[in-house]
């Protein structure tokens, strides 16, 4: 009896760990692909010798705040058969309510 219990707990724990590692969610699975050097945590150095020290230093960020159109090509990576689309940013209150479908 005890042996059966142990086997049951071990199998439950193992499956939970596998699910956490693979990021499995509701019958699907998630694969993560980082761009190379980022995966190794490398910070690429750059010579700033030629940059004037009096420069106004700014940093680009991944936040799209304005919806400017892009007449140029949208993508340059991958097979032309893979269709790419640009994310349409969320607007507060837009679309169907989540409540009722969320298990949170």
């Amino acid at each position: 009896m005890n042996q059966t219990k142990s086997i049951f707990y071990i199998s439950v724990m193992t499956s939970l760990m596998i699910m956490m590692c693979l990021g499995t969610v509701y019958g699907g699975s998630v694969t993560v692909q980082h761009e190379d050097a980022l995966q190794q945590g490398q910070e690429v150095g750059v010579s700033t010798n030629n940059v004037n020290r009096d420069d106004n230093q700014l940093r680009l960020a991944p936040w799209r705040l304005k919806d400017k159109t892009d007449p140029g090509r949208e993508s340059s990576t991958g097979s032309p058969s893979v269709r790419m689309e640009r994310y349409k940013p969320y607007q507060e209150g837009e679309g169907e309510r989540k409540i009722g479908s969320s298990p949170k």
């Binding site: 969610v25 509701y26 019958g27 699907g28 699975s29 998630v30 694969t31 993560v32 692909q33 980082h34 761009e35 190379d36 980022l38 910070e43 690429v44 150095g45 750059v46 010579s47 030629n50 940059v51 004037n52 009096d54 420069d55 106004n56 230093q57 700014l58 940093r59 680009l60 960020a61 991944p62 936040w63 799209r64 705040l65 304005k66 400017k68 159109t69 892009d70 007449p71 140029g72 949208e74 993508s75 340059s76 990576t77 991958g78 269709r83 790419m84 689309e85 640009r86 994310y87 349409k88 507060e92 209150g93 837009e94 679309g95 169907e96 309510r97 989540k98 409540i99 479908s101 298990p103």
Partner: protein
Amino acid sequence: MKRKIWKWFVPLYMAVVILSFGSCGGGSDADQGTIVLINNSVVTIDGFYLAPVDQRSWGSNILSGSLFSGQQTSIVDIYPDVYDAKIRAMGVYSDYFGYLYDIPIGAGSRYALYVYDSSFTGSLEIRNNTAGASIIAVYVVPADASTWGVNQISSAIGPSGLRHLTDFPPGLYDVKVVWNFGPDSVYYDVKIDSLTLITLNVN
């Protein structure tokens, strides 16, 4: 008399020509601004767009070539105005974007725009792993959003098909997949990072 006029005319003409060439190009450097784009990230930047803040379009790419990791380039002769900037990077798995808004370029001003790994957006790929069902809508919203937003795909994803969505700010997202039959599939807290392609295999 003729020779005397000719003697004066030639040096005068040459002086005018030299002065004209000197003022060519729309003014001196002091009248315009400069941006130094410094790629401190691991990816190659293949697009840089600079548009006045009130312009609706990003316009064309102003980089003459690729800006590899560790390189920098100067964009000179920028007419004084307030600009928005966008970069595009070509990664191994996807394309990524970075933005900067309201850059006040003044006469003689010089800005250094630094690009780091964290400057870029991430991407999400939806793979339909079924043999007979089609995905007719995909909703992707920040995990703390109260509604599902708009459908992210412009056409259905057939069996064994995939769709690549780009330009996500890093963060946690909830994803709802709507099938042509059967219940919806919902995936909570999918983490999208900078310079990362997340593939969601759905069935």
